[in-house]
């Protein structure tokens, strides 16, 4: 393997490690939220710095690769997409941390399980986790055939998000004392919806890297 290829491989390894960490942060955020596990939530918050460090390292390594090796074609697309993917992964991790902070603030007081069920929050979490892990597989295998399926899952997330307004309105009308936790739940659903958008952005970057196609905003006009 040429040294330039080794550098690229090392970049790929860094992105893989960051991806696994962010996936684990989101998985733990789900567990902490559903179980009200404050210790787990604190663990998520403390590991956020590791995600930030990955982002800085990847950013710096990508800059160095461009400066030193002047990549073109697939190598250039890889570096450009890795810069954006690492930023996006860091944002997803930020959302995981803010979900953890909601759990810490609630100090173990869980949201009404009936509301969680009606809002399909567990399903939202699981859909997002599968989007993130499937896109990881797409990148590792450099195969974008599942890109369409991953992006279709974001539509499911959007539908669940839109349905949440009516569900929450009905719930709060029946339980006016739960207004505070209702608002926090709305915040949570909004965060999950944004994570779905970020997963979509990651898939777009993978398609750009592998297939040299621009999907963003409906592609280049």
């Amino acid at each position: 393997m040429k040294h330039t290829e080794k550098e690229l491989q090392s970049l790929k390894d860094e992105v893989n490690q960051m991806w696994k960490l962010v996936l684990s942060q989101l998985e733990k955020a789900k567990q902490a939220f559903l179980s009200g596990d404050v210790d787990l939530a604190r663990e998520i918050a403390s590991r956020e710095k590791r995600v930030d460090a990955f982002e800085l390292k990847i950013d710096s390594d990508c800059e160095n690769y461009i400066a030193l090796y002047s990549p073109v074609a697939v190598d250039l697309r890889l570096v450009l997409s890795f810069i954006k993917i690492s930023i996006t992964l860091e944002r997803i991790a930020d959302f995981a941390e803010s979900i953890a902070r909601l759990v810490i603030e609630e100090d173990g007081n869980k949201i009404d399980s009936q509301l969680i069920e009606e809002l399909q929050l567990e399903k939202m979490f699981d859909t997002l986790l599968s989007m993130l892990s499937d896109s990881f597989v797409a990148l590792e295998s450099e195969n974008t055939k599942i890109a369409g399926k991953i992006m279709a899952k974001d539509d499911e997330i959007d539908t669940m998000f839109l349905n949440s307004f009516a569900i929450l309105t009905t719930y709060l009308q029946a339980n006016p004392a739960a207004i505070q936790s209702g608002l926090k739940t709305l915040l949570l659903v909004r965060k999950l919806e944004r994570i779905g958008d970020h997963c979509n952005n990651i898939v777009e970057e993978i398609v750009f890297y592998v297939d040299a196609k621009v999907l963003k905003h409906g592609g280049k006009k």
Binding site: K2, V72, A73, V74, L76, R77, A212
Partner: protein, 248 residues
């Protein structure tokens, strides 16, 4: 403006160019890239019939400039050489003064009187971005100039006879980064008035200066595309392997 159809070229039994078809637009910069021995310089030299000077070569196919086949018996080679200037890898000024280097082509072709030649030398040196550096020492030997200046002098010499096409065979490969940058800026500015074809081993140079790029390998034109497309998302795997350094 330039069009080749089914070009095959042989050095004796060696098949150096295989069925090359290409259209090059007026006032554009086209870069030819590819590994050594791929045929890119041979193809470049077709456009001013420099290959005719090599014994045992043979060409089939058509190479037309402005609609006229330059290899047709009736096409005057003298006229072609005035129309197509050439700059080589190593600066090759004549052992004459700076002024006489640029004036040389005009004199041997009897192009204009003394005042015309003086004006044309100044115009050519300005076009080659060298005038400001040499205007006070035009009678000095061309060999007193730096390598980068000598190369720009050679470009001025090529421009003096008012060609419409400029061929450049690795024009900056023997120059330092500052001189290279000046030559590249020059190429960029010259395309307003000239059609430029450049052979280069410097991938980034091709990316910086050209509108279109042709990638040659083993005598074949593997890919000919817009330079932006070529360096971001080439269509052929061979091109990608070459420009990313995975070739070979």
């Amino acid at each position: 403006m330039i069009e080749t159809k089914n070009i095959d070229f042989y050095y004796g039994n060696f098949h150096a160019l295989k069925n090359i078809n290409m259209k090059i637009g007026k006032n554009t910069v086209t870069a030819f890239i590819g590994p050594s021995g791929c045929g890119k310089s041979t193809f470049l030299r077709l456009f001013n019939r420099m290959n005719d000077l090599i014994d045992g070569t043979r060409l089939t196919g058509e190479c037309a400039i402005a609609g006229r086949d330059i290899y047709h018996k009736s096409f005057p080679v003298d006229e072609l050489r005035k129309k197509v200037g050439m700059v080589f890898q190593k600066p090759n000024p004549f052992p004459k003064s700076i002024f006489e280097n640029v004036a040389y082509g005009l004199r041997v072709n009897s192009m204009g009187d003394k005042s015309f030649i003086i004006a044309k030398v100044e115009e050519s040196l300005k076009a080659a971005a060298l005038w400001e550096e040499v205007k006070d020492k035009l009678k000095k030997s061309a060999f007193e100039l730096s390598g980068g200046q000598q190369q720009r002098l050679c470009i001025a010499r090529a421009l003096a006879i008012s060609p419409s096409i400029l061929l450049m065979d690795e024009p900056a490969s023997a120059l330092d980064p500052i001189s290279t940058s000046k030559i590249e800026e020059l190429i960029y500015s010259l395309k307003e008035n000239y059609t430029i074809i450049i052979v280069t081993h410097n991938m980034q140079q091709a990316a910086r200066v050209s509108d279109k790029t042709g990638f040659f390998m083993l005598g074949e034109l593997v890919e000919y595309n817009d330079t932006k497309k070529m360096f971001l998302s080439p269509e052929k795997e061979q091109t990608q392997n070459y420009i990313t350094g995975r070739f070979g």
